[in-house]
Symmetry: C4
Subunit: 294 residues, 4 copies
């Protein structure tokens, strides 16, 4: 049966749209998983360590100045390597979400392995910061068809990895009407700073580093349009990219614009997800395609 186009999303009283500032604290985790040989490459390790040594601290200062909460998705590996950093994020009141253990993409792995990533990530956040996250962001935004079910089974209340909607929705874990559900907090590539700033010759394919003014133009336009459309503007930042001085300044300009917009709810992913969970939303089930078996 065909899925219905969603009706207008109902925001809390007084609000007509929402914005979430999410930060993926990948640090060394992802590059080590994708390119294990870089473990021996001091320059690559240092490049990623900018997350912890300069990028997150600068973004935290911005959020403090602007008096806004952020949502930090933290791989377990990052928590283990930079425990004080994660505890600081927690202590100043930001939300901490799950982002895999070593930023492992789950495509092509079996269910037991995928579960193991979840458990190891949960254990690390618990061990390091005593945090039990309610939200999950898939490394590289990659999910299997089975993944929503696994997330529910491990106690997650929302996922933030899919790009099929402009607003939060209820994500079904199976075709049966009584299948468990969780809330999906959608993302999009154009609001991920990685598409604008990532650059690493020989590791990433050929790209050009954009000016912060270009990224700001892109994000401002999407912010304005998201408000007009009643959407949820989900910004995704990587501190080793957007923590650089001029990019961080652009982020702060974007945040100042957010605050100036009447009726825009700036909140954590978790708070927005809880709002969505309280609505009477129909569940969307993504029908597998021929050839899918997970």
């Amino acid at each position: 049966m065909e899925q219905r186009v969603p009706d207008t999303f109902k925001w809390p009283d007084g609000f007509r749209a929402a914005a979430v500032i999410s930060v993926d604290v990948d640090a060394e985790s992802g590059i080590l998983t994708d390119h294990p040989q870089t473990a021996a490459h001091l320059n690559v390790v240092a490049h990623q360590a900018y997350d912890a040594l300069a990028g997150v601290p600068r973004l935290l200062r911005i959020l403090e100045r602007q008096a806004l909460p952020g949502t930090f998705f933290v791989p377990g590996f990052t928590a283990d390597r930079w425990p004080d950093l994660i505890r600081t994020i927690r202590d100043v009141g930001h939300e901490i979400g799950h982002h895999g253990y070593q930023h492992e993409p789950v495509h092509g792995v079996d269910e037991a392995t995928e579960r193991d990533y979840l458990v190891r990530g949960l254990d690390a956040l618990e061990r390091v910061a005593g945090v039990r996250p309610t939200g999950y962001r898939a490394p590289k935004f990659k999910l299997n068809f089975r993944s929503p079910r696994l997330l529910v089974e491990h106690g997650f209340r929302y996922d933030s990895s899919l790009m099929d909607s402009d607003v939060p929705y209820r994500l079904a874990t199976g075709v049966e009407p009584d299948s468990p559900t969780l809330i999906e907090m959608p993302v999009q590539w154009a609001l991920d700073d990685w598409s604008q700033f990532a650059f690493m010759p020989g590791i990433l394919p050929g790209t050009t580093i954009e000016s912060p003014s270009k990224a700001l133009d892109l994000w401002m336009l999407e912010l304005e349009a998201s408000v007009a459309e009643g959407a949820c503007f989900m910004l995704t930042l990587h501190p080793y990219l957007s923590g650089r001085p001029s990019r961080a300044h652009a982020i702060e300009q974007l945040i100042e614009r957010m605050k100036s917009i009447d009726g825009l709810w700036i909140a954590t992913a978790g708070d927005v997800a809880e709002h969505a969970a309280a609505l009477d939303l129909p569940a969307r089930w993504h029908r597998p395609l021929p050839g899918a078996d997970n």
Copy 2:
């Protein structure tokens, strides 16, 4: 014998140029054909489903607000997966064209296979929406030398896949003067939103996502110049890209500019093709190159 440079194209009385808003509703079809393993990747499937779940609906709202008809090229697979969507496109009066069954590129396949794609696509559009399209857009704009002949044999009156002209022309299916012909409605890469917005690490090669303001600048300049040159401005949109809020707003600005231009005929590809078919146009035959055998 060498082909002649075409004379000035004769537009209907009162018009000096034309613009067509074409929309390729690929949804999951193309990525599943190019990368079958993504059938198991929920995030990729959801990314493409944005077409049906948000992008097409938003573009339909724009066309309704602007009171303009569009031409939607729909793969049969999309029609089968999202039948209500296709029926809605039909019901509000837009043109529906053929776009392969599962968005299969025809390079390197034999004639029987290429025919099969045509038939399966026709069957799906007939079965789902009762539509018999007169226009064809090749998946990825890819055609073989034999393709125009096959299109004529299957009843198509126009194709919209080639980049050798700024205006419609009569396309010969063979070198003989009495070879059947059809109308070609030319496209170009720079007017395809895919060149500006497509982004999928690990699946697409390294690109950078452009701002809607850059794409709008590019398209506005080509629109103005196309009018000055008496050309046919053929915009090609993918709703999972251009259906995003700020991009859709840019598209609407572009359309508003179109409407403000005196003497610009904004029409469906089918209507422009019918106009061209009624002109006394010489037929262009593309001479095969050494090594071509299809």
Copy 3:
């Protein structure tokens, strides 16, 4: 012995810099050499045929309107396939240069093969248009260390393929003081429209199509700076790219700016090369590097 940094180049009386509008009429030749399978791909062949069917005619109209001569580097294959086009270029008074037979890169081929490309290209231009070019532009700007000697042996007076200078210079064909020489008319990637507009998924690596306004900004800045530095501004256009309406309009704006600059000599590559040949220029010999054997 180390080469000297060149002194200021002496332009003709009244001039302080020069600009050349060069056009590489590759049409189908290059893509057929690089990707022989595309001979069977009607869309690729048509994409390249835009050169002959729309791009060159539009650029010729601009040059006529602006009353300026251009230098057209024409592969023999293009001359054979589009003879009337080449004769038109000749008849309206533009310079025609050599650009290989089928746009063959000469890296890795033996001397006999490289000679054969030269001879076949010369034969085609003679046969089709009765033209004996004095200038050569290497396909893809690729030269071997032996190439300048071969060019001299085949009667060429200048080459336009190297990127080691901002001004024309005398290029030695060997280390001996009495080695024959020819004039080098340098090019640069940033003034080649290919770097801004080339786009062909699956054939070219991932790029983004730039707006004509960006290319114009880039070229205007280099034009102004070239004049200030007394350089030779060598624009390289591909009509299947820059012959598109809005890009051609940008080119015309650039040309109008050229004409407004006091002391800028706008000439063919051949005329500038003849001027350089009449100066008492020292010959530059590029010392081979370890590992070079051609």
Copy 4:
């Protein structure tokens, strides 16, 4: 033990930030190492020789006009091939640093080989210009975990290759508190002109050449933000890229802006490193990751 986020860096009295103009004079060295076959390709060799024949001379003229010192990192191979050029850089008072012998990336090589690159580079700079550099910039910014120790053993006082900080810091060569240290002068990709201008089809992956105005916008924004954050703005130029007329003009505009900023210390990398060395800075040790063994 987790590394601390660095406190505010203490600049000399009267200064609140610093800027360094560094120039990597790769010339033919790097491309010959990465793509040995290009030794036979005259156009590639000439493209790189622009460094010596036009780019460095133009940048030297700018620095002279602006009365500012630069830091030139010179591969030994460049010194051997262009000795007069290197002696000129030395004679007019700029700093000369080490940049490998033939621009060899050190990833994956054993310690003896890495030492050999250092020694050969030192020998060439001594032999050609009588210079014993105190600073090192790794070819491609690539370092192994062992590299800082080797640099100390060969008498270097600072390295300029890592991207983990916005300000200079003391880099430990081992985990023991009494391990020798050197100063790190951090770089970043966005301030490397290579990310904006590098272009060589078939050798580099697909990129687009940016306008100097875009690069200038990017660098101006980072300059302003670096000053606001008390950072060290480390510009990295390649003369075969930024020595082109309009790019060099943009560089000069950037330098003029630097000079207009109150409290910005414009100095060589060596001078800034000596300042940092005199501060009581804690040493940062980069903990190896699992899998690293060098």
